[in-house]
Point group: C2
C-alpha cells in the first residue's frame, strides 16, 4: 500500500435466487466504484444463499471450479469498474473435495490469488464442516495493486493466530468476508453481546498487529430446522489502532467507505513495537492442541 487507499465494503442479501444475487452484488460494486473505491470487500459466499444452514447433499451442486463462472462474473466487474474485488466462492476442487475459498480479482480482471478458509465451524445452522474441507495452505497474503491483502474468512476472525500469521507474512490489510448472525429468538442483551464481541475481537486483531481491518457481512434471514438465522450486517472498517472508521446498519444494504493511510502501520509499530518483542521461544504450546500438564 504505497498511497492512500479507498476501501469499500459491500453489504447485501444473497438469497435463493442466484440471478438476483449477482444483480445485488453488481449494484453494490457499481456504487463502490462511483464512490471512488479502489478495493471492494464482499460478504462470504458472495453469490450464493447461505446453504450451510442444513446438511443436504444436493447443495454440493452449487459448487464450481476456480476459475469458473463465479470468478468470470467477478473478473468482469473488476475490469469494467476498475476495482480489486475480494469475495468467497463455493469451490469444487475435485469430486468430493470442496472448499470455502476467498478469491481476489485484480482490476484488470486477472485472478490475483485465492485463500481457502482455514477455520471451519460446525454447529446447528452453520453446518460448514459438512461442506467445506479446511484449507491447508496456511495464511499467506495476496499481492494486488491495492497492497498485500491478508484475506481470511468468517470463522477465522475469532482466531488471533490467523491474523498474526497474515501479519508475520507481511499483510498490509486484514479482510474478512463474513456470514454471521443471530438467532432472532435470542434475548436482546445476548444478541448485543454477540454482535459487539464480533466487532471487538476483530478490532483487537487490528490493534495487536497494527493493521487496518475490514469485515463484510450478509444481511437477511436464512431458515434452518426449528428456527432461522438473521444475518446481522454491521459490516465495518477499523483503523490500525482499532478505531472504527465506518460501520453499516444491521439490516440494510450498504456500501461503507474509508481511506487508509500508507505508512501508518509502520509508524505505529515504531511506537508500540509488539512484533519486536514476541517471545517465540515460549510459544511452543501454541502449536499443540492437547498438552499434558500437571494440574497440581
Amino acid at each position: 500500500m504505497s498511497r492512500l487507499l479507498r476501501l469499500a465494503v459491500c453489504q447485501y442479501e444473497p438469497g435463493q435466487d442466484l440471478a438476483a444475487n449477482r444483480t445485488a452484488c453488481r449494484a453494490t460494486l457499481e456504487e463502490a466504484a462511483r464512490a471512488g473505491a479502489q478495493l471492494a470487500l464482499l460478504p462470504e459466499l458472495s453469490l450464493l444463499p447461505y446453504f450451510c444452514a442444513v446438511q443436504d447433499p444436493r447443495h454440493f451442486d452449487l459448487a464450481e471450479t476456480i476459475p469458473g463462472p463465479g470468478t468470470d462474473f467477478l473478473a468482469e466487474a473488476a475490469k469494467s469498474l476498475g476495482l480489486v474485488i475480494v469475495g468467497t466462492l463455493f469451490e469444487r476442487r475435485a469430486a468430493g473435495l470442496y472448499h470455502n475459498t476467498a478469491v481476489v480479482l485484480e482490476r484488470d480482471g486477472s485472478l490475483a490469488g485465492c485463500y481457502r478458509k482455514l477455520h471451519v465451524p460446525q454447529e446447528p445452522g452453520y453446518e460448514e464442516k459438512y461442506y467445506f474441507t479446511p484449507g491447508s495452505a496456511g495464511c499467506t497474503p495476496i499481492d494486488t495493486s491495492c497492497g498485500r491483502l491478508g484475506v481470511l474468512v468468517c470463522w477465522d476472525q475469532w482466531f488471533p493466530e490467523a491474523a498474526r500469521l497474515q501479519t508475520l507474512a507481511e499483510a498490509e490489510l486484514l479482510l474478512y468476508p463474513s456470514a454471521i448472525g443471530w438467532d432472532p429468538d435470542e434475548q436482546e442483551a445476548e444478541r448485543n453481546r454477540q454482535l459487539e464481541a464480533w466487532i471487538t475481537v476483530q478490532r483487537g486483531h487490528a490493534i495487536a498487529n497494527c493493521l487496518p481491518l475490514a469485515a463484510g457481512n450478509r444481511i437477511g434471514r436464512q431458515a434452518r430446522p426449528g428456527g432461522s438465522c438473521l444475518f446481522w450486517g454491521s459490516s465495518f472498517i477499523s483503523g490500525p489502532q482499532g478505531e472504527l472508521l465506518a460501520r453499516a446498519s444491521e439490516t440494510r444494504e450498504a456500501v461503507i467507505l474509508a481511506e487508509l493511510e500508507p505508512g501508518r502501520s509502520e509508524q505505529l509499530r515504531r511506537t508500540w513495537p509488539f512484533l519486536r518483542d514476541r517471545r517465540v521461544d515460549a510459544y511452543q504450546d501454541l502449536v499443540l492442541r492437547d498438552t499434558v500438564h500437571d494440574p497440581g
Copy 2:
C-alpha cells in the same frame, strides 16, 4: 472457579515515598475487603515508583528477594483481610539477575505462585529491558482458592499469544497488573486512540478465549527526561464476551468490583467452540520470529 467470584481491582498512585505506597495499597485492599471481594488485583510494581522511566544503576537497589519484604507485606494483608492478592514486585533473583515478577498471595498468607513478565518493553520512558530479564517459564496459571488465575503483566497484554497460552493451560481468569500511560503532551485524539486500543485489545483476548479479564493500572505522573508519563488509570473488568463490567476513572484512586459467574466460560465455549477448531497444523510460523518467504 466453582462459585460466584467477587473480584476487586485496586487503582492508586505509587510514588517516590515507599511507606506512602504501602499505605495507599493497604487502603485500597481494605476497601476491597469491606466490599466483599475475595480476590484483589493491584497495579504493576505495586509498591514502587515507576523507576523504569530512566536507566539508572542505583535503581537496582529497589529490588528484593521473593519471598522477602514485599511478599511479607502482601501476605499479612492477604491473611488479615481474607483476600487473594495479585501484584508485581521488582525481584532480585541473583546478583545481576532481576525480574518484574507477579506474585499471588493466598488468603492464608501463603505464596500461591509467581509469574515472571514474559514480554518486556523498551522505549523512551519505559526502559524495562535495562532492568528486567524476561521470564523463561512460560505462561502457566496459578491455582488459588479463587480459581486458576492466568496472571500476565502489562506489556504481555498486547500479545494474543500470552492470553492463549494461559487459556490452553486452563486459566479461568486473565489478570494484568499494569503501568501504562500517555505522554500528556500528545494530542487528545491520539491519547484517546491509545487508551481505547489498550482496553479493546484486552477485551479481544477475553472474547477469543471466552474468559473474564481484568487490568489494574496506576495513576499519577512520572517524570522522565524531556517530559513525563501520565499513567492513565482506567482499570477495568471485562466479562468473557468482552462486555465491560466496571471501569475506573483516568485520574482517581478507585476500587472497582464485579461478580464473575462460574461455568459461564464453558457455556460460551459450547456456543462458540473456538478451542475445538484451532488449526495447530497451520500455526508453525507463530513460533518463528523471522521467516524466509518469497515476496513475488
